[in-house]
């Protein structure tokens, strides 16, 4: 516990963020163990040296294409949503037309008609279930939660 307190104070000292009270507290640690003074000086130097080190710039071509890749992927996602909505509407209309004609046809046995209704209802239940699951996942998506931090 004492070690951690010293570590916090020392880190604040290295970054020049100590309050007057904390300075006194740190001085007490340093008085108890004078070798810590030398250590702090060396760690300050390491911190300064770290600031000299720069990361090598990434591949220029990849960085130039970066925005267009992000933009295209965002746009593609919007396109996919529109495409899916359109497909669902057309499919629903097609199924409705097919079934309404089919169910009205007196030559089709009642068992077959009931079977078709069952299949269609089943598909609807499955579709609703998948949509519900997707929405539930969206609610607990960790990336959306990061925003609330």
């Amino acid at each position: 516990m004492q070690d951690d307190r010293f570590a916090v104070l020392a880190e604040k000292f290295l970054e020049g963020m100590l309050t007057p009270e904390e300075q006194k507290e740190l001085a007490e640690f340093l008085n108890k163990d004078p070798s810590l003074r030398q250590e702090l000086a060396e760690l300050k130097d390491i911190g300064e040296v770290m600031k000299v080190i720069k990361l090598k710039s990434p591949d220029e071509e990849a960085m130039e294409r970066f925005w267009s890749v992000v933009y295209n992927r965002i746009e593609r996602a919007v396109g996919m949503i529109l495409l899916s909505l359109g497909a669902i509407l057309l499919l629903a209309y097609g199924v409705y037309m097919l079934i309404s004609d089919f169910l009205r046809d007196p030559s089709v046995p009642i068992v077959v008609r009931l079977g078709v209704v069952g299949v269609v209802l089943g598909l609807i239940v499955l579709l609703v279930s998948v949509v519900k699951e997707r929405l539930a996942i969206l609610k607990v998506d960790r990336y959306s939660k990061e925003v609330d931090k």
């Binding site: 951690d4 570590a7 916090v8 020392a10 880190e11 604040k12 290295l14 250590e39 060396e42 760690l43 130097d45 390491i46 911190g47 300064e48 040296v49 770290m50 600031k51 000299v52 080190i53 720069k54 990361l55 090598k56 710039s57 990434p58 591949d59 990849a62 960085m63 970066f66 925005w67 890749v69 992000v70 933009y71 992927r73 965002i74 746009e75 996602a77 960790r142 990336y143 959306s144 990061e146 925003v147 609330d148 931090k149």
Partner: protein, 174 residues
């Protein structure tokens, strides 16, 4: 256009304003992803994916808060997911640029080499502080730990570097 103005513009439907944020942080996001993944192609992919995720939830973002810590969290999470899914391939460690004419050139090389030998926790805290420029508060948010823990981890990490350098110097002398 400022970061805040760009966020508000995107929230109001201006997709092109998102470019301001992408251009401002793409390199940092890529470096962070590369730090975790050590693979250039994967890092690029994860950095781009992170921006797409951020775009998806941008309506919920507070424009008055700094943007990068949020992006940083997303890059980190995506990189972790990626590491869990895939075995590391073609490891390419991060490369650094140290001005040769700088009087601390040799010292800087020693510090960087020592940093590469650190455990993941110590390396990560130093990387976020010195190579991503995050504040203590921002690091606490990204790593989900208290601010005091951030400070003590930073101190211990630098202490480890010092010991590694001393160990190296002793080896050279011996």
């Amino acid at each position: 256009m400022t970061e805040r103005e760009a966020i508000i513009a995107v929230q109001m439907g201006d997709k092109s304003a998102f470019r301001v944020l992408v251009e401002a942080y793409k390199e940092k996001a890529y470096h962070l992803a590369l730090f975790y993944l050590q693979n250039e192609a994967d890092a690029l992919d994860v950095a781009q994916e992170a921006f797409i995720k951020v775009y998806k939830y941008i309506r919920k973002l507070d424009p008055n808060r700094p943007f990068y810590p949020y992006l940083c969290s997303v890059v980190r999470n995506l990189a972790m997911d990626h590491l869990n899914r895939q075995a590391r391939m073609d490891c390419v460690p991060l490369e650094v640029d140290i001005p040769v004419d700088d009087e601390r050139y040799h010292r800087a090389i020693m510090v960087w080499e020592a940093m590469e030998k650190l455990d993941d926790t110590a390396r990560e805290i130093l990387f976020l502080r010195y190579f991503q420029g995050l504040s203590y508060e921002e690091m606490a948010c990204v790593l989900n730990i208290p601010k005091g823990t951030v400070m003590s981890r930073l101190f211990y990490a630098k202490r480890k570097i010092k010991k590694l350098i001393e160990g190296g110097e002793k080896e050279d002398a011996g």
